[in-house]
Symmetry: C2
Subunit: 436 residues, 2 copies
């Protein structure tokens, strides 16, 4: 072989070194574990779908970013999220599913973006959705924030706040003010409040030819601050007599009540009336989650309630509520910020090595440790002991067992903790206790 | 919405119902757990690769079956196995890896085959490989069969036999006989022995103009039967004085010795001198694994030793040994045969439901159970108790907790085992013990 091809990976694809991958998987395992704790069922849909099915609803940016191609007679695309495949799946399997259908899916999705720092063309989404048949209990909307809380608490990546709102409150407000058309623009202006200040918000609203009376109502709305209970109280006292608004307020009140029953700590959630979540997809409850100390990385888990999951495929009305964690980007961000550098742990609990070229006893010891659910690797090669220890260090393996003539005779082994440097002579029974 | 798109999945893609998916994942988890028990590190390479990198070596069937497309300036392909991406990865990261590099990867691969029963266009491969830097200890070749054994033992899918051979024995034999060119054809004929009988094998070999003396040697070789030790003994006594043959025989002898040290039961492996594994890729040890009662489904785990993993990308000599389980196809086969139908288990350990519309206590109980690592789901809707129980049955949930006015007052809950029908009044502490 003389002509070599340059080995490289397409830019925008995350490809980690083993020690980072161990950590990545550990965090994904935590997400999966919590999803299962709450009874979500796994789903695994294909990465490749028929284009007309996948793009039934899409348009604009999504369509431009899609990886689309033909193979034989088939017009195919790589999925760009996990929601459209879920809609397809539920439409196909409607008669075989038990509703409410709670599913989780951790899977790769594809968007042909220009590659840039922290942006990925292939990335994991970790989604849960609860789909009702015709209707869906509002208590589900309160359970999801508890799940978000449990995950980020276990991932241990710092303090965070789950923001919650209900789209109907905003929609009702604007309907009440007769500003339905202006609503998106008004929301954009409100969103700049922290940057430009209240006076400039008012000036900009005036530029839209909104009456002073209406602007006063908007300002009253913006000025709703305080604890979650105070906010609900102030919303009640706004005196808005609009059906949609009241429905939204009632839902939000219920959701807050149940979040507390789910034992979601008051510190970790906050009603935030400005959250609308761009997409016109959401129709009720909406969520965003921010790390308190790193708000600039954006929401790390978002979602909400939608009226109809699969309207492009089926006549069945399938309301749902769901959340999504864009894990690949989150992992990149956390790694960049140095938040997760510390809790590295290897796959192997222990590396078993020989002082000499006789490794028979090493194999025997590893057999025994594995039968006790300990991950044990044997170093087979006859290298210098220093090289063997260096190998354990590079793999982040915490313990090594060193076996020489004496250990073979006495059956008392040398166990070394590489982190502390501590070394002791112990029996294999003690070793397995020590490691566990 | 009036115009609906027909929801469908591309033929040749496996898309399971939730209860099957639970089982699928459970089996994949077992494979992963065993791979980690032996210290293999996880790897996750992209599904989409640059075509010139992915196809550096490919040709023929592979190239025809590839999903290939362009996006912007990039000529891209979906990976068709996990070995080429590993070669690319090791070539790129050579300086950052500790050798021997032991990696596992469970991932989807793509082949644009004609869809037919049991054939998939998207399927999981579950691979491990051990890559050496310049050289790789033969003991590794003995560890892999132990790993195969552990996996299929834990998957509990019936008796199986791991067949092992060494390509050098065959290569050396044919070199010794001066039949290097005829070797592939001779192997094909030998392979038909069981079907056509020894006499016809001899006649067919004569048709190839092979001398009687050489045919006698081939027959001596074919006639090697008996226990593993007897086969090694007979190979030694063939009197073949060929360097490659002796190297292969020496390696096979070593591998058998170490397989025993790894405590691989004698019943579960067998030297099978006819195994060549078509690909010219393998250069030493080769493996195949068969279910004793279902030999017709073919090898369920195969692999072997190769001289040079990444010769298309790098000058580094990287010998390796690996195995692969084509899990999607295996799962389909086992399911068809009814072998795995029985051990169904849901994600949720328990479904908590109310006798009436008050579900507050249900949420409280579920909070408590989850804090004890029990997967608990609450049924929120105010349906008839029969409908709630039916829901648990459809999801294969084994236990339900029923809470009514009495339970709320006394804190003594009703626990029902759906499988046995047994129902008892117990405290929440007892429930968590019972379920665990």
């Amino acid at each position: 072989m003389s002509n070599k091809v340059e080995a490289k990976t397409l830019p925008g694809m995350m490809e980690l070194l083993p020690n980072e991958q161990v950590l990545f998987n550990k965090m994904m395992d935590t997400i999966r574990k919590v999803y299962e704790q709450y009874g979500f069922l796994p789903l695994d849909t294909p990465v490749v779908e028929l284009s007309d099915v996948l793009l039934a609803k899409a348009g604009g940016e999504t369509e431009k970013q899609i990886y689309r191609f033909t193979k034989g007679d088939n017009d195919l695309s790589l999925r760009f999220d996990l929601t459209v495949p879920l809609a397809k799946y539920v439409a196909i399997n409607y008669n075989n599913l038990a509703f409410p259908f709670r599913r989780y899916q951790l899977g790769k999705v594809y968007r042909g973006e220009r590659p840039q720092k922290g942006r990925y063309r292939e990335f994991y989404q970790c989604d849960i959705d609860i789909i009702g048949d015709g209707e869906l209990n509002i208590i589900n909307d309160a359970e999801l924030p508890k799940i978000i809380y449990t995950i980020f608490k276990e991932l241990d990546i710092g303090d965070f706040t789950i923001y919650i709102n209900n789209r109907k409150i905003l929609n009702g407000l604007f309907e009440d003010l007769g500003l339905v058309e202006e609503a998106p623009e008004v929301m954009r202006i409100i969103d700049k409040l922290d940057k430009i200040g209240l006076e400039n918000v008012i000036l900009t609203l005036k530029d839209l030819n909104i009456s002073e009376e209406k602007i006063n109502s908007i300002v009253d709305f913006i000025n709703i601050t305080g604890s979650n209970n105070e906010k609900l109280d102030k919303l009640n006292k706004l005196g808005i007599n609009n059906e949609i608004f009241n429905e939204g307020l009632n839902e939000l009140t219920q959701v807050v009540k149940y979040m507390r029953l789910f034992e979601l700590p008051e510190n970790n959630f906050e009603i935030n009336l400005k959250i609308a979540r761009g997409l016109d997809y959401y129709t009720g409850t909406v969520y965003e989650t921010f790390l308190n100390e790193y708000r600039n990385i954006g929401s790390i888990c978002s979602g909400g309630r939608y009226d109809n999951l699969a309207e492009y495929y089926t006549k069945q009305k399938l309301p749902g509520v769901g959340i999504s964690i864009g894990f690949t980007r989150l992992f990149y961000q956390l790694n960049e910020l140095g938040i997760i550098k510390e809790n590295k742990k290897s796959v192997s609990d222990v590396l078993v090595m020989s002082m000499d070229e006789n490794i028979d006893k090493c194999i025997e010891v590893a057999n025994e440790l594995r039968s006790q659910e300990i991950n044990a690797q044997v170093y087979f090669d006859n290298k210098k002991i220093k090289a063997k220890i260096k190998y354990a260090e590079r793999l982040n393996i915490k313990y090594i067992i060193i076996i020489g003539e004496e250990e073979r005779q006495t059956n008392i082994l040398t166990l070394k903790n590489i982190e502390t440097g501590q070394q002791e002579k112990v029996t294999i029974e003690e070793i397995s206790k020590r490691i566990k």
